[in-house]
């Protein structure tokens, strides 16, 4: 990626002061415009730079959006994280009797990180991403978004770009907020197909007597369409010897695998040609056909960081924070247009402040908030649209009377 900048403390402070959408974040967490437990009993954690390195300040809580903003502008953290709603205010922790501070409610969250795709990624490694590998993430968004809505029935999903190489999902439905850790673990078990960190050449074990369960059948329909461009054209995974041998390891017919292997040994075939050849052979054998479907899942199915989702008390970086390495803002992503989302066009904090400066000099629209004058605007609007769906209508009505 071209523009990489580590933002200075001054830039961060201006960003928090003038652009960060504290009101939107507040309403989103609180499900209402009037402060309630969902906000006041919520944990915030700040990461700040100190002379000796980084410090991590946990168990902060605030009575209102202004209070949060004031503290953020005082501490000027490099980023901050959001935790669960506790049985008491986290900041009173030291005065509570032992055990009185228990996590009670929490958005159901997911974290997908590109580094977990390294075994199936040839274009970049570690923290880098490019246009060739971002489709892994967009495929994950589409598969999970559908599964969570259709299978679990949740509706209030917010996808947020993590600022560098991954994506977060926050689910704010009341029923999702109330899930116990055991139930969260069950969701992860249901959605998890590819074990992150495990040997990637290991076979999947997801079929009942040869049949894929309906949830994975639906995922396969989606991933089938992603596979050729992503795995064959972008990543060219079967062009190398190592790559096609990994593929052939998944084929349960050893005769067929040997035949293809010796054929490919001396040829300079592309991944697409080899995949076509394999499909041609596989049409004759249902077992092999199943194995090929499993290969599609293995190479493209979302890789979840299970620990993040399993525990209510796990903290996750707040939307609209700035990634400290790239300077990019963690903006919401619309799952319907995720295919055209390009991380390299996400505004950096430096760019936003330049835009502010330029606008400031030109005359005019004084009534507008600062963010409306910058390229952050569409993202905050996306957030506010989401917030409107999260606001508990009935609750709001009670409040006004």
């Amino acid at each position: 990626m071209t523009e990489v900048e580590s933002p200075s403390p001054e830039i961060m402070l201006t960003f928090y002061n003038r652009l960060y959408p504290f009101k939107s974040i507040f309403a989103w967490l609180n499900h209402s415009h009037k402060p309630g437990r969902l906000f006041t009993h919520r944990e915030f954690a700040f990461t700040i730079n100190t002379s000796g390195g980084e410090a991590y300040l946990r168990y902060n809580s605030f009575n209102a959006a202004d209070e949060l903003k004031k503290q953020v502008c005082t501490l000027n953290p490099t980023r901050f994280e959001i935790g669960p709603v506790y049985s008491a205010k986290p900041r009173d922790r030291k005065t509570l009797r032992p055990g009185a501070l228990q996590p009670e409610l929490r958005e159901l969250v997911f974290d997908i990180d590109m580094t977990d795709y390294d075994p199936v990624r040839t274009c970049c490694s570690d923290a880098d991403i490019c246009k060739k590998c971002w489709p892994f993430i967009s495929a994950a968004v589409k598969v999970l978004d559908r599964a969570i809505r259709e299978e679990f029935g949740y509706e209030k999903l917010l996808w947020v770009y993590s600022g560098r190489r991954g994506i977060h999902l926050w689910i704010s439905d009341k029923a999702a907020m109330e899930l116990t850790d055991i139930q969260r673990k069950a969701v992860v078990g249901w959605l998890g197909v590819v074990q992150v960190g495990k040997d990637s050449s290991k076979k999947l074990n997801v079929r009942n007597a040869g049949t894929l369960p309906p949830s994975l059948q639906a995922a396969l329909q989606e991933l089938r369409t992603v596979f050729p461009a992503l795995i064959l054209r972008n990543q060219k995974l079967f062009a190398s010897e190592e790559g096609y041998l990994d593929l052939l390891k998944c084929i349960p017919d050893s005769k067929m695998a040997d035949k293809l292997s010796s054929k490919w040994e001396d040829s300079r075939g592309t991944s697409e040609e080899r995949w076509e050849e394999l499909l041609g052979e596989a049409k004759k054998n249902q077992n092999v056909w199943n194995a090929i479907e499993d290969v599609i899942l293995m190479y493209t199915y979302p890789r979840l960081d299970a620990e993040v989702s399993k525990h209510r008390n796990h903290l996750l970086k707040a939307p609209f924070c700035v990634h400290p390495k790239t300077g990019r803002v963690c903006v919401p992503v619309d799952p319907h247009t995720v295919d055209s989302f390009d991380p390299s066009t996400v505004p950096t904090v430096g760019q936003l402040l330049r835009e502010l400066d330029e606008m400031g000099n030109s005359n005019g629209e004084e009534t507008k908030a600062d963010w409306e004058k910058t390229s952050l605007k569409p993202y905050i609007e996306l957030m506010n649209n989401h917030v409107r769906t999260v606001i508990d209508v009935k609750h709001e009505e009670d409040m006004t009377w």
């Binding site: 055990g99 679990f152 949740y154 899930l179 673990k185 069950a186 249901w190 309906p214 059948q217």
Partner: protein, 484 residues
């Protein structure tokens, strides 16, 4: 073996016993939704709770020992038959079904009182009670099970056949089992959060937050319902409990019970009686028996006594009572202690120690029959210097001690890790039990056998008695071989 409940075909010809006289307990299965409202004596209150506790403690210990479901179920069934039998109305045994079920009912509620006080106790109680319910549910008669399912509202929707037809393709894809089984199955619809175990393993079809549970997985809903119902009521009980604290008769009993559970053991091991051992134990045999058959706590007393020629007060008391129950007569005990305290003059021994030895045998003072200390008591803080060594020795000391003490009995350094891992998990009695198994492998004891029938160690005398019993036949055989 314990499927006997379901295969009662010979009984079918027997006249069907009517349930009408069991109206208060029509079924072996109970969700314990109504508290017992009958009078009980304090003794009943305590004994029935202790009996149930033995079962729950064995379930906990099975979990700590990673027993699989079949093993856990067998062990639990054995314990139930022993302490808390629940026969079906079709049982050919002559039993008072009403009394059995009443005891089951009462004991559950007593333990609720004992275990509602802390988060940890509640969690452990719910877990083992739910497993106990599972075991009983699986062995219950089909008719009992069905009657039970009909007896309360489980808040599930039976999926109408029209909907089932509409969803046929998806349901079939999600179904684990044969096609003919699928054709027969019914579906129950519940919020997915009520069957997290089935969701986690993708054993159901999910749509819009509803789980479609096939008949064969229906029990998961029941078990989860049992669990969450018990969780909720325990919290309510905890809030109401302060009122009960005024009853001074019950409080010490409840404390005693919950303490035992915390220690991971059930209760006093009552079976220890010296007269069981046909061969009288002589003072000079103790060294040999200690080497072969003592648990680590008593072996430590013995080693210390040999090294220092002395033991401090609590050590003497603990070890003395243990030897008494082991079968050492008062005369032999006096010989044993007199020789052991070799640095002490006769005069001082007779004045200061003899009385105490006789006292512990109930021959002086109150003349009470003092029982030997159980594992619960040894695990309690401030017993003797070392109490339970598994609990009180540090990480370096325990492995060294184990090897030097039990190496000659077959304990290898490669076994130590397993023992210390168990100790780290605070399952001291499990560690002790495992050492018993390892050091009695030559007597044919396998992993999981415990001190017989899969039971874990709950009392040092139980450990020693079982060990001596195991070693005996081999010893007498050896003796015969050398005898011309």
């Amino acid at each position: 073996m314990f499927k006997g409940g379901q295969t009662t075909s010979p009984d079918v010809s027997l006249p069907h016993v009517t349930n009408s006289h069991l109206l208060s307990y029509p079924n072996t299965l109970n969700f314990y939704e109504r508290p017992p409202l009958f009078d009980v004596t304090v003794e009943e209150f305590e004994t029935c709770a202790l009996d149930r506790l033995r079962i729950l403690a064995e379930i906990e210990s099975s979990l700590a020992r990673n027993r699989n479901w079949d093993e856990l179920s067998t062990v639990t069934k054995t314990q139930c038959d022993k302490y808390l039998p629940l026969n079906s109305h079709r049982s050919i045994r002559f039993t008072d079904l009403e009394a059995e079920r009443k005891k089951d009912h009462l004991s559950h509620f007593v333990l609720r009182l004992a275990f509602c006080r802390s988060e940890d106790l509640r969690r452990r109680f719910v877990k083992s009670e739910t497993l106990l319910f599972k075991v009983r549910y699986e062995i219950a008669l089909t008719e009992d099970r069905e009657a039970f399912l009909g007896s309360r509202d489980f808040n599930w929707t039976i999926v109408p056949s029209q909907e089932q037809t509409q969803l046929k393709e998806d349901l079939e894809r999600a179904f684990i089992g044969s096609k003919s089984e699928f054709e027969r199955t019914k579906y129950y619809k519940v919020k997915w959060t009520r069957v997290p175990d089935l969701v986690e393993k993708r054993k159901v079809f999910l749509k819009g937050g509803w789980a479609y549970v096939p008949t064969k997985e229906q029990s998961s809903i029941v078990f989860h319902e049992f669990e969450s119902h018990l969780e909720k009521t325990l919290e309510t009980t905890a809030r109401l409990l302060p009122r009960l604290d005024e009853d001074t008769r019950l409080l010490p009993i409840l404390n005693n019970i919950s303490q035992g559970f915390l220690a991971g053991v059930s209760s006093e091991w009552a079976g220890a009686s010296g007269s069981d051992n046909a061969d009288e134990i002589k003072a000079e045999m103790i060294d040999e028996i200690a080497r072969r058959s003592f648990p680590l706590c008593m072996r430590m007393h013995h080693e210390k006594l040999r090294k220092d020629k002395h033991l401090k007060h609590f050590g003497r008391l603990e070890y003395g009572l243990f030897l008494k129950v082991l079968g050492l007569s008062i005369e032999e005990a006096i010989v044993f202690w007199r020789k052991s305290f070799s640095r002490i003059e006769d005069d001082k021994f007779n004045k200061e120690y003899k009385y105490n030895i006789r006292h512990s045998y109930g021959l002086e003072g109150k003349r009470a029959n003092y029982p030997a200390r159980s594992c619960i008591q040894l695990l309690a803080p401030g017993s003797s210097e070392h109490g339970c060594p598994y609990r009180n020795f540090d990480e370096d000391n325990l492995p060294t001690t184990l090897i030097s003490v039990y190496g000659p009995q077959g304990l290898r350094s490669s076994d130590i890790r397993e023992v210390t891992d168990t100790v780290k998990g605070k399952h001291y009695h499990v560690a002790c039990t495992r050492v018993f198994e390892l050091t009695h492998a030559s007597c044919g004891v396998n992993k999981g056998d415990g001190i017989g029938g899969g039971e874990s160690v709950t009392h040092p005398n139980q450990y020693a008695a079982r060990s001596m019993e195991l070693r005996k036949p081999k010893e007498s055989k050896d003796a015969m071989q050398v005898d011309p």
